[in-house]
């Protein structure tokens, strides 16, 4: 069973999540109200677990002691009963003896024996009474230990000491800087089994640039509220599942269409005919690429075609390249825009 730990105070989210996972016994939802409690679960809750374990051990000890005392009570009771039974037999025998045979050695011995049994019975009775007192005390101690152990075990959150498949957390907990929060959070994870728990964020952000602040290594998704149930179900199950190979109950269409994967690179310099940029992948000479930038502000979505003039690796320790691209298909408005950018940068430099 995969566990999803949820830290988001919004009540409607709980309703939706409960609905999504209502009929699925392969997933369990754990709701917590604060980050410290979430950490207790993720870290297996060692302090409380240790206390609960110790209390359980004490309870077990008290039970063993109680059993010992109870055994003593029983033993003494049996002794007493035996002595009384034997004493009674002898008493009857003695009573049946006539006055002539009362002083015979056998009868005298029998009387002595009877006295011993009486004494033994009295001893056993006293010991039994003492043991019964001890038993009552031990019972009381055992009851106290049981109550304490149960209390401590109840205080250990459900799911502690178990693997968490996914931690779903509201974006408000990651403020002001998600990167710093994640770094601190990772340091707080001491339970190895959950040290790499996947994290997904919930929130109301609407723009890509605000959402991308949260999509740092270690965070796998951002769910915009209110959740789309089918989408959330598909993605939450995938993230929480160990195998990561869920049966795809997905309806897909074969559609062949051009798409573009968008990569961001830093522009280094610009001229009227070309620009240079730093990239993490090399470009081939004369290859054409499409770019977009605020600097290339044009009516048509700020896109420009460019041809690679040259590409040079500029770092020995990392994949970093400086490439120059020649603008292709330039029209007057674009040239005017580029000149404005150059003028602005030049005047800034002069200042």
């Amino acid at each position: 069973m995969a566990q999803i730990l949820v830290l988001d105070p919004e009540p409607t989210l709980k309703v939706i999540l409960d609905r999504i996972f209502a009929d699925d016994d392969k997933f369990r939802l754990l709701y917590v109200s604060s980050l410290p409690v979430a950490l207790e679960i993720l870290n297996g809750n060692p302090a409380k677990k240790t206390a609960a374990t110790a209390a359980k051990q004490e309870f077990d000890g008290a039970v063993a002691q109680l059993q010992g005392v109870a055994a003593r009570v029983l033993e003494n009771k049996e002794k007493m009963e035996f002595a009384l039974r034997e004493g009674l037999k002898l008493e009857k025998q003695i009573q049946a003896v006539s006055a002539e045979t009362a002083a015979t050695p056998a009868v005298v011995e029998a009387k002595a024996e009877w006295s011993k049994y009486q004494a033994s019975a009295n001893e056993a009775k006293a010991a039994m009474a003492e043991a019964a007192q001890a038993e009552a005390k031990a019972q009381k101690q055992a009851d106290e230990k049981r109550a304490r152990s149960e209390e401590l075990n109840k205080s250990v959150p459900a799911g502690a000491d178990e693997k968490v498949g996914l931690f779903l957390i509201a974006d408000s907990f990651l403020q002001p800087n998600p990167g710093d929060w994640l770094s601190g959070f990772k340091k707080s994870l001491t339970y190895e089994i959950n040290s790499n728990v996947p994290i997904a964020v919930t929130g109301n952000k609407a723009t890509e640039h605000l959402i991308r602040k949260y999509l740092i290594p270690g965070i796998f998704d951002y769910f915009v509220k209110p959740l789309d149930e089918l989408l959330a179900k598909q993605n939450l199950k995938f993230l929480a599942s160990e195998k990561k190979e869920l049966e795809r109950e997905v309806y897909a269409l074969a559609i062949k269409s051009q798409v573009d994967l968008i990569y961001e690179f830093e522009i280094e310099a610009i001229s009227e005919q070309s620009f240079s940029l730093y990239s993490t992948t090399p470009f081939e000479k004369d290859e054409f690429r499409m770019f977009s930038s605020e600097l290339f502000l044009r009516k048509l979505e700020r896109k420009i075609l460019a041809r690679c003039l040259q590409c040079t690796k500029v770092s020995e320790t990392e994949e970093r390249y400086l490439s120059e691209f020649w603008f292709v298909g330039v029209e007057p408005f674009f040239l005017h825009q580029i000149r404005g950018v150059i003028e602005k940068s030049t005047s800034k430099t002069k200042k």
Binding site: L253, V259, M290, S293, S345
Partner: protein, 246 residues
């Protein structure tokens, strides 16, 4: 003196270009009105005529209006001149459409540049100056700026669902990498782009050098997934009608 071959049926543009070249002091211009005529220059059909070597051109200006199938047409042009002195001559396109998405499909192997009509003198001169051995060899004056460029790296969708998209890319994508994806297939969002996480990418490329990567949509705004479902249903019906299966 540069020798330029202009292949275009746009009389107005041809006249303007001719005038610009004249003002630049470059009068060696050969003008033809169709691609077939252009190819003829390199491949005379009259077998009886003596073989006259085609002149060496420094630049071929080719109007995209004359191209029905860019890859084939430009390939054929390259093929006919492969044994001539103009085998390595750069091809610069003339496009009436300034939309980069429209020009992009013409930028096939053999093409070096593109000019948007009406052609500006400065842009034409820049193209001429950039030809090997023609323009000034001094380095361009570049101005340091602060900015970010988004590279639109071409890929192709293979399969689209309400939760994810399978794409074929020439570049291997690291799993769990987040990437905005742009495309007309995402017409369900105002910007036609969605943020997605690579949930799986094949370790090996196929025979054609494509890696298949599945991207799960991330941070889809409320209501969008519903639009996607409606769109998918419509697409399904359209595909059925076209007999594409689905």
């Amino acid at each position: 003196m540069l020798n330029i071959l202009l292949i275009s049926d746009d009389a107005e543009s041809c006249a303007k270009i001719e005038k610009m070249l004249c003002e630049m002091g470059l009068t060696q211009l050969t003008l033809v009105k169709s691609l077939a005529e252009g190819m003829q220059i390199f491949m005379p059909t009259d077998a009886a005529a003596p073989v006259t070597p085609a002149p060496e051109f420094n630049l071929i200006l080719l109007d995209t209006n004359l191209l029905l199938s860019p890859v084939k047409d430009i390939g054929d042009l390259r093929e006919v001149r492969k044994d001539s002195v103009s085998a390595a001559t750069a091809v610069c396109l003339l496009s009436k459409d300034k939309d980069p998405e429209s020009i992009r499909r013409f930028l096939v192997s053999g093409v070096r540049d593109a000019l948007v009509k009406p052609v500006m003198a400065g842009a034409l001169k820049a193209v001429l100056d950039s030809l090997p051995g023609v323009g000034p060899s001094a380095a361009r004056s570049m101005t340091k700026v602060s900015g970010v460029a988004e590279l639109y790296y071409e890929a192709e969708s293979v399969e689209v669902s309400e939760f994810d998209i399978l794409i074929a890319s020439k570049k291997q994508i690291p799993e769990n990498e987040f990437r905005p994806i742009y495309g007309a297939v995402f017409q369900w969002t105002p910007t036609q782009r969605v943020l997605a996480r690579c949930s799986k990418c094949e370790a090996e490329a196929n025979d054609e050098g494509f890696f298949f990567a599945r991207f799960a949509y991330v941070a889809v705004q409320p209501g969008i997934t519903k639009q996607v479902r409606i769109w998918l249903k419509k697409e399904y019906v359209l595909q059925k009608e076209r007999g594409d299966g689905g």
